[in-house]
Structure formats: structure tokens, C-alpha cells
Symmetry: C2
Subunit: 296 residues, 2 copies
């Protein structure tokens, strides 16, 4: 199966690398050329446009920052829709609005092309190690066709339902992730302010009812003073805007997610847009007038 990958950011480049490693012939395209050259050095073909990628592929993946980027690359001038033949399957690893995913799928269906919304979770580590969680919406037969490629990039694939369902699952995922990130920040600073060693607190609680991937992975990084991504704050901010837009569209009040969206928005205003999402503790540090102590 000839595969294309468009959008070679932190996540996209790592995923594309695993597709190559899986033995699939790969054509890549990216606005900035560094990542293209890196993958070309490992055997990928270069393409000048999304249309060219589509012309050379049976399955084309996209991994782009936001909804308008995906619309542009798939449906815009020199986009996938211009180069693809009937039967092409487009797989979008981006996190975008579920309704936008449904609309793109409908436009591609007019040309007999399939569109799968297939956002991922598991961060940069999961992308590099090929252990992502993939949540897929769209045509079930197309999912089966692409399954061998999914197997090269993720450890778990869940078919959630019709077009858009993968994006709804991702929005749900981000509700939980944001909640955990903020709660982690609150509890670390409360412990410190109360005169208790935050590291001991994490050790005490991470095996009980509070157990989560966030507490398993992130505190150790914060205690080393590491706040770089990982998963960038401005991406979390964008995802939470999708969450709240989607919730409004379907009439679902989200009192807790709304607060978390505000805290991530504050994070961006405070100049922390390129830090990891766990660095939302920085907003709480400002509110509390204290910094998390980094042990020597």
C-alpha cells in the first residue's frame, strides 16, 4: 500500500517515521523542508503539493494544526482532492471540529474518496514509540483497508462510529486530560504551600483512586524543572476551544472544562504558549504567588 503523509510537525514526523519503519512506500509533503529532508534521507519520496502526494498514494494521512489547515490541504487549490483518484482514502490525524470532519468527508465522497477522522492520543512519546491510541470515525471498510498502517503507528485502534465520531472521542479525551493537568498543578502547589513535600504526595497518591497517566508521567518532568513539550499549550488551548464549540453545538454545558479552557487561555496570554500542557501549573503559580520548588 502506497502511503502519503502531509504535515510533519512534532507528531506527524514521528508517525511518518513509523510508517516508513513499517515498510510502506511513503511520499511526504510539509511546508517547512527540514522534516521532509530528514524523512527523504530515510527513503521517503518528496512531493511539492498535497495534490502530488495524493496522486502517488492509495492512502494519504494529514496532521495539521487546526481545522482551516485541514480544509485547505484537503479541499483547497493543489489539495488532495485535486490529485486523488476515486478509491483514495484520506486519514486525518489532526484534532479538528467534528462537524468539519463530517463536511470534508461529504465533499470527498462526491469524488468517491473516503475520509477517516483518526485523531490520536499518547503525546510525542507515543508518536515516536508507535504506541499511540487512535480513535477513528468514518467508513468501516476504509478502516479495515488502512488497518495495517494504523498497526505501525499505534498500540490501540478503536472504531468509534460514523464520520466525526473519532473527533468527538478526541474532544472527550481532552476534557479528561485538561482536568488532570489542572488538578495536578493545584495539588502540587497546595502540598508545597501546606509544608509537605510534593514528591512524597505524588508517591502517596499515584497508586490509589487518583491514579492516572498524567500523574505517572508528568510530575517527574516538573520536578526536574522541565516544562517544554510534550504537547504544546497552544494546541491544548485550540483543542479546548473545539471541545467548547462542539459542546455548545450539541447543547451540553461543561462547567469544569470551561474553567480549564480559561486557564489554558491564560497560559497563552502569560507567554507560555510553547510550553507543555503540564506547565499550566505556571498559571496557578502566578495566582498563588509561589513557584513549585525543584529539588536539587
Amino acid at each position: 500500500m502506497r502511503v502519503g503523509y502531509i504535515g510533519l510537525g512534532l507528531m506527524g514526523k514521528a508517525i511518518a517515521g513509523n510508517i516508513l519503519k513499517g515498510g510502506f512506500p511513503l511520499t511526504v509533503h510539509n511546508r517547512s523542508k527540514g522534516a521532509v529532508e530528514e524523512l527523504a534521507g530515510r527513503g521517503a519520496r518528496r512531493a511539492d503539493s498535497p495534490a502530488q502526494v495524493a496522486a502517488e498514494s492509495e492512502v494519504v494521512f494529514t496532521n495539521l494544526p487546526d481545522t482551516p489547515d485541514v480544509e485547505q490541504v484537503v479541499l483547497g487549490p493543489a489539495g488532495i482532492i485535486e490529485g486523488g483518484r476515486p478509491g483514495l482514502i484520506v486519514v486525518d490525524n489532526s484534532t479538528i471540529r467534528p462537524e468539519a470532519a463530517r463536511a470534508i468527508a461529504a465533499r470527498l465522497a462526491d469524488k468517491e474518496m473516503a475520509f477517516l477522522d483518526a485523531p490520536v492520543s499518547g503525546g510525542d512519546v507515543g508518536a515516536r514509540e508507535g504506541t499511540l491510541t487512535i480513535m477513528v470515525g468514518g467508513d468501516g471498510e476504509a478502516v479495515e483497508t488502512v488497518r495495517p498502517v494504523f498497526a505501525a503507528i499505534g498500540k490501540s485502534l478503536t472504531y468509534v462510529g460514523a464520520s466525526g465520531a473519532g473527533q468527538v472521542a478526541k474532544a472527550c479525551n481532552q476534557i479528561m486530560v485538561a482536568a488532570q493537568m489542572v488538578a495536578m498543578g493545584e495539588l502540587l502547589l497546595l502540598a508545597q504551600k501546606a509544608g509537605v513535600d510534593p514528591q512524597r504526595v505524588i508517591e502517596a497518591i499515584r497508586g490509589g483512586a487518583a491514579q492516572c497517566w498524567t500523574l505517572d508521567v508528568k510530575p517527574a518532568r516538573l520536578f526536574r524543572g522541565e516544562r517544554g513539550p510534550g504537547f504544546k499549550a497552544h494546541m491544548m488551548d485550540k483543542d479546548l476551544r473545539i471541545v467548547l464549540d462542539t459542546a455548545r453545538a450539541y447543547g451540553m454545558p461543561l462547567p469544569s472544562a470551561a474553567i480549564h479552557a480559561q486557564l489554558f487561555a491564560a497560559m497563552l496570554e502569560m507567554g507560555m504558549r510553547d510550553l507543555d500542557n503540564s506547565a499550566v501549573i505556571g498559571v496557578l503559580e502566578q495566582m498563588a504567588g509561589v513557584e513549585l520548588t525543584v529539588p536539587r
Copy 2:
């Protein structure tokens, strides 16, 4: 080591049972007599007052609803302090205010008795199965003395620090647990309102960055229509009041935990005080005008 246990509620009775199973001679006391008779039938001695339990024991555990109950049972008339000899170790499994734990410890220290704050996490299941997470504050030597008993009731014991540190850790634990419970409710209802099967969404996200004990355990119960405890909403409400009181005392704003405290307070007002903490989804159901569909 002769052990006493005072307060045989859902958690206390299960923990006391595991102390018996561990082979320790046990004296018990409780306001209502059903649980006392049950444990007496398994070999425990009955005592008429906390003072009598203390007189017959080297280590006395308490497990009571709230701060004033612990103060009363330890320091009040016919309390532990009246019956205990110097060298007695009092271990409190309740969740109470950290400052109250420190004050009780100081009062007992005047009588040469030790006080360990040793709240637990892991729910009724953990209590029954002896797999609780125990977080301990107080004198380190006393912790070592009690360690064999702790080993009978929990799978992990973390010494967090001086008196009160165990309660601070528990407050931190409840910040995370409340966040996960509310986020779970929000995401399940968002999925349903957006026309996506909430069970598939849980399957899709539980292995990724959203992974947590809450998502591992609670959705299956909600999908079976089970909202009983578990861990009662009014206990969560009480714990979150401790969290916010402690945060205020130490000057730590908790914007997210504060919202969760409000939602659990609403849960009580809506007549759901004796349901499980996961049933906080019921508050969101009312806000959204929809009920989580229970699959046939």
C-alpha cells in the same frame, strides 16, 4: 500487637476485618451494633467506649465521618485519651482537616501517646480486598511499629512527613479524584449528545493520555445503571470542603477544585447524597436535560 478499631462504617468494617484476618487480636467499638456483632462473630472483642478500646490495645485505629467525630472519640469524655497508657499509638484512617490532625497529635503527645494521620484511598473495594493506598503523617518510629498492621490492610504505604502530612496528601488525592469524576460525567454526556456511543468513546480513550483508575472502573458501573456507593457523595462533599478550607488556610487558590466542590454540593441538594461520587454525572444530566442511556 493488640489492636483496637473504632468506627465500623463501610470502610472501617472492611479494614477491621482484614486486621482480624491478619491474625491480630482485635477490640472493636461502634455506635451502631450490627457491625460490632458481625466482627465479634469472627473473634473480635467488644468494648463499650473508645476509652475501653484504648485500655485493651497497643494501637487504636479510628475511622469516622468528619473532624468533630475524631476529636470527640479521641479527646472527648470516655475517649481514647482517657483509657490509653503512655506509648499508645492512635492511627486515624478518617479524612479530616490537616490542622485538626496536628492539634490532636499535640494533645496526645502531652500524654506520651502518638497520633498518626493515615487516610486511605482505594474505595470500598480496596478496603475489602486489603489493597488500600495509605498515606501517613506523624512520628516515623510509630509508623514502623504499626507497619505490620498496615501491611494487612493496604498494598502501599507512603510516609509523607510530619503530623498532618497524610491528610494533606489525602486532600491532594481528592482534588484529582473529583476532577476525574466530573470530567467523566462531562465527556460521557457530550459524546451521547453528539450522537456517538459513550461506551465506544470510553474504549477509545481509556488507554491513552486520559487513562485513569476512574475511567478503568466507573463507566462500566454507570452503563449498568449502578449509581450506589462505592464512595458516597456526601463524603466527597465533606472532603472537598476540607480541601478548600485547607487551601484557604495556606493561601492557595483552587479554581478547578472549587467548581467541583460546587457540583458535589449541588448533588447533595438534588437528593443524591448517598449515591456514589461517580453519580455526580446526575448534576450534569440535570444541567443538560438528558440522561445517560443505559444500554440493554
